[in-house]
Symmetry: C2
Subunit: 418 residues, 2 copies
């Protein structure tokens, strides 16, 4: 099967004005119609998903991957609800901020506008197809979706829903293109199309992100690994610290907002680490401890940490532990080894809390709250199209607003420059 990505991208570019110029009410109605059609099309979507699951089992795919691929009636309903949530969010387009008169007499403001055409490259989870499309439509962008081969039947069924909703609204289907093939050749061709595509968002393993970053002529939003730190300050309340540690490390291990490194201030180590030893033993968390903290781990075997452990994203019931002699050394450690994702401080000391929030420049900084809150839904964005771990354009979880930009609008009355 071949697919003409150049033609598809040209159609997306030609269609982008149609979505950008809809009124807020029309865009909301379109999203609501997608949600309704999703629910109505549940049998067809589940049938397509069953084909993907059959193929996955035949290909001996891992249980985790099959789990991420599978949909049931409640799953389709949840996807539809996410679309409704996005539909009901505040409008992100068209507002003009800070109109100011300038000495020359002109008035200058900034208006929020769509990026144009957004392409998304992702794997397995079929819900991404609809989440990404809904966020792009909300922000007035045309979207090109390239999902994984393993979800191809599901994605085709979801694409049919998107196209039906667009057609019902009298809009060109080029507004939402789902690429029906997953071969690398089509992706490689797509990365060249900087004339028609404005942004590429790859979501997947480090290999995919590196490949896209290095080969794309189009700007790329990168989401690299999450080496998230929890720092338990000398002035921490352990009744808060322990649940935050347990939640961050053990609730779900395979996600990027799980904790990977624990830093404990020396002055609270004697009190905290025996409790933490018990917690890790209860939850079967494997420990890589620095020399100073190693003797505290008695309920289970802990290994001496190596340099590689401070960089490690275990994505498993496994953690690196280090005692730090001061607040400053905790910040320094995070600045050296952090991946720009999420860092947590637990403290009752106001000054330290303020310094941590100010001086640690990862994309999400938490005071006395679990790293697990670090995703678009939990942070109030409704859904997320990705989490940026580089600072350009967007930093952290990205919702609809992060798929827009601002242009200058200038009002004169015949003004010329002196």
């Amino acid at each position: 099967m071949t697919f003409d990505i150049k033609q598809a991208a040209a159609e997306a570019k030609a269609a982008k004005n149609a979505i950008a110029n809809l009124s807020q009410g029309e865009r909301k109605a379109l999203l609501e119609s997608i949600a309704a059609l999703l629910v109505k099309s549940t049998p067809a979507i589940l049938e397509a998903n069953r084909q993907d699951l059959d193929d996955a089992r035949e290909a001996n795919m891992s249980a985790a991957m099959v789990d991420r691929l599978g949909l049931d009636e409640a799953g389709v309903k949840a996807i539809a609800n996410a679309v409704l949530e996005i539909a009901n969010q505040d409008e992100v387009l068209g507002s003009i901020a800070n109109i100011k008169p300038l000495p020359s007499g002109i008035q200058v403001g900034k208006m929020r506008i769509p990026l144009g055409v957004v392409a998304m490259i992702y794997e397995s989870r079929p819900n991404v197809t609809i989440d990404a499309a809904a966020l792009c439509l909300k922000s007035g962008n045309a979207v090109i979706l390239r999902g994984g081969k393993e979800a191809q039947h599901s994605n085709k069924a979801l694409a049919a829903v998107l196209h039906q909703a667009l057609e019902n609204a009298g809009l060109p289907t080029g507004i939402a293109t789902v690429i029906p093939v997953a071969d690398r050749e089509v992706m490689a061709q797509m990365l060249e199309l900087s004339d028609s595509i404005d942004l590429i968002i790859p979501r997947g393993g480090e290999g995919l992100i590196n490949y896209v970053s290095q080969n794309s002529k189009i700007p790329v939003i990168q989401h690299f690994k999450g080496v998230c730190h929890l720092y338990i300050d000398a002035a921490a309340d352990l009744a808060k610290a322990l649940p935050i540690l347990e939640n961050g490390k053990t609730q779900r291990t395979g996600v990027c907002n799980a904790l990977e490194t624990l830093l404990v201030h020396r002055d609270i180590a004697d009190e905290a680490l025996p409790l933490i030893d018990q917690l890790f033993a209860d939850k079967s968390v494997k420990v890589h401890a620095c020399e100073a903290s190693l003797p505290y781990f008695k309920k289970q075997s802990a290994q001496l940490a190596t340099d590689a452990d401070w960089d490690a994203e275990y994505l498993d019931l496994e953690i690196a532990v280090k005692i730090v002699d001061s607040f400053d050394l905790a910040v320094e450690h995070i600045q050296q080894y952090g991946s720009g994702h999420t860092e947590v401080i637990v403290t009752e000391n106001l000054g330290n809390s303020q310094r941590f929030m100010r001086e640690v420049n990862s994309s999400v900084i938490m005071l006395n709250a679990s790293s697990r809150f670090s995703d678009g839904g939990q942070l109030g964005l409704g859904a997320e199209i990705g989490i940026s771990t580089s600072k350009l354009h967007a930093y952290g979880p990205m919702g609809a607003q992060q798929l827009t930009t601002e242009k200058f609008v200038v009002y004169g009355d015949g003004h010329i420059r002196a």
Copy 2:
């Protein structure tokens, strides 16, 4: 002469916290001290500039280039004043926007932070060295400046001022690095250093920008050409349109915010074009006219425009002219041929003015005002570090705020995710 750019970038990275963590008052004092030292060092700066000018004349450099290179006492004073203006601008760092309580009980806001290390690659004009450094310091970034060979003595003298001010304030000089050599090899090495440099801004010809974009492992802000349009609507007031046309096309021709294409609505052509013919004849503006507009140009020879004229950035007393049959066709022409820089509408029709502001998505959209206002100083940014013609991260003239990003800050009191 060799220069260890890897070492310099590592020093910039090590120094970035020192500038990021200064208080607003300390950063303001640093900028004021740079301004004062610039004025005090005027003789040394002018002496260095004379050496560059001597070299330029020896190398038979073009008069235009020599003109851009030259400094006098008033020029140094103007550079110092720009630094003071930046010092006095609103603070861009540390503010926390929109703290909102969420259903889980956490409170979420966004704090504005520096990018980290910003590198700038530019040519000739020595004022860029200080403008760029001042904007980076204002926004809490360390900066690496790589100017052109032709300005090397001037840039060395200006670097000495920056370093003196940093030393006087007890700050590491790694905060502002001026690369003393201009060879391509050092630049090529710099483009690899994504571990220490967060953003590259090339300012110069299309060749330089393409080279940097294609070879950089670091995010790049692109400033491509300015093919700026003036659209004279059927409902235009010609008493406003003609001065705006004259100002935009003839005040300075070699700049990116000069007009390159004029679109005239058919219904006003009979009235407008004879006046425009007279204006262009008076100002010796060469005309490339569409078939319909060609007969109007009688005071001088006009050529029939070719397809290439609609894309042309003449940067000279030369313009493309087209009659359009409708408002929609004017917008379509701009969307097809615009370069994302600046577009102007002259009209007294409220509906058309609103549609133009909304539907044309170049980085600066003007109503009844000259395209020449499209620069950072004129739009109220104090100075500009560049003009982005791509929509990612920043769009249009970039001041200090565009050298920052936002991180999420989350306040809990022991909150964990359910």
